[in-house]
Symmetry: C2
Subunit: 306 residues, 2 copies
């Protein structure tokens, strides 16, 4: 096998209470990538469609993660990468993570899978760092492993796969505004009230328990963020209106996807997920802001060969 086509999925990081540690994987939105073994040594990005991104491997997220892996293997050939980008950069649903994951996953398949998914995440972190200026894995982990993941620590890298009920669907609205990463970081407090932190870790523990036990009511009770959302939601127009409408439409929970501007909801069943989509549309169609909405089952397998 010299060529492989890969689907690298979008992801939702933070998941309300789990800032910086939790994430889940989407099914219906993601990038397509082609990875090809070629004689010419090195990493060569030969085609990018969808968005205007750099072709130089060392300036491209998929290229940097590929180079990190390429440096760790000893081969007398190279790789070409084609990127068919569907996830808009800056949308808050793991666009850079999908790129970073797709290249290393595809290369690993082509050379007989010498690396496990945690090792692939280590390479992909290098690509993600190019985009977000810091090493984090809260989008990479769900993109590689699928389902719900908890990044327990970065050094050493520890990723936990949390089971989830079958009937969970996400609805995500991407308002096409730009939030600068620097701004979404600067707005966070360096210190938080101990009482709020306790509420947050009670919710994280309880969400993990709820996912293990398929307890939808408890999932709903756990999807609250008292730490980050009160600050970052100010950067997202109509966040409070959307959240209220989404919860009224029956969602289990609603919050900021990654650092925004996308807003995610978690729902029991496709019917509710579609009602939530309508509620999001109702609010945003009046605002004059362009938006996309995705409805997706939780993707339990992550990045895959297509």
């Amino acid at each position: 096998m010299n060529e492989i086509k890969v689907f690298s999925p979008a992801t939702v990081a933070n998941v309300a209470c789990g800032f910086d540690v939790l994430g889940f994987c989407l099914d219906s939105v993601g990038d397509d990538m082609v990875i090809r073994k070629v004689e010419k040594k090195g990493i060569h990005i030969t085609r990018i469609e969808g968005f205007d991104l750099p072709h130089e491997a060392e300036l491209n997220v998929a290229g940097v993660s590929a180079l990190a892996m390429y440096d760790a293997i000893d081969v007398d050939f190279g790789f070409e990468i084609e990127i068919y980008k569907n996830i808009k950069p800056g949308s808050g649903i793991g666009s850079s993570a999908a790129s970073a994951v797709g290249s290393v996953f595809g290369m690993n398949e082509l050379i007989g899978r010498p690396f496990n998914k945690t090792q692939l995440t280590e390479f992909a972190i290098k690509g993600e760092a190019l985009a977000s200026k810091c090493e984090h894995a809260d989008n990479l982990a769900p993109a590689l492993f699928g389902g719900f993941t908890l990044v327990k620590s970065i050094k050493p890298l520890q990723i936990l796969e949390i089971p989830s009920p079958d009937d969970i669907y996400a609805t995500i609205i991407h308002p096409q505004i730009e939030i600068k990463t620097s701004e979404s970081r600067a707005i966070l407090p360096k210190e938080v009230a101990l009482a709020d932190a306790i509420t947050q870790w009670a919710n994280v523990g309880s969400l993990v328990h709820a996912l293990h036990t398929s307890d939808y009511d408890l999932i709903k009770d756990s999807l609250h963020d008292v730490i980050v959302e009160p600050h970052r939601s100010k950067l997202i127009p109509y966040f409070n209106e959307v959240k209220e409408a989404v919860l009224n439409a029956g969602a289990l929970g609603c919050g900021i996807s990654g650092s925004g501007p996308s807003i995610f909801s978690v729902n029991k069943g496709l019917e509710t997920a579609n009602k939530v989509k309508e509620a999001m549309e109702r609010i945003y169609s009046k605002t004059g802001i362009t938006f996309d909405i995705h409805v997706s089952k939780i993707n339990t397998s992550g990045v895959k060969i297509v």
Copy 2:
């Protein structure tokens, strides 16, 4: 049935990362109580052995929780309570919780179990509040439910029963020094670094996952407290020495039990728990401080009829 004998167990609250929310139940140490239906209406504490505690129901933890339940039922009889106290008050292993739980559990059994365990916890919270000056349930929940518990919230009261592996043993040393509750509260910061809070909720999520999956290595990796222990450990003589010796002896984790002064460890297997006991003894026997050590399997059923 007009009389019942109850074993009301000691408990460990906080469990390293889970400050204010997690707890587990012990098997080999606890109070014995006798609860008796009598003609004379009201709650009457007729006997207390072991420690000098008030006999007036409204001044006694077991009495206050009993009164809270008595006010909620409509009966033409009363209850006598005898308390054979084995858990030293102020030891940090849930002495007041055991008293608060024993009376309401026993009364509930005698009147045909009209209340579930969460409702019993609501009554017991009133007794616990007499001792600790605030309403909390992190010792009450494991004493009533057994095993590991997560108190997700107090209002409304939500208690989650987290499963645990069969082979977990706790070793607990109680150095017989007094730590004033006011002091152990005052030493805690009102605000904590966001980065530390993230570490803590990653550990809480990861511990819940580890307990669900019987992953001992992950239990070990999760039992860290970066928020409270750095402050409260200063109040416990030789805490750092004990912790180091305990971890060297093979414990999965070690921390402050409740607000101290007891130090708990969690171990895989009885053999390790006994080695940890020896390690604790080696350190403390040189200090001149009187101490007790308990080795106990996790008690998965909680308070019980004997």
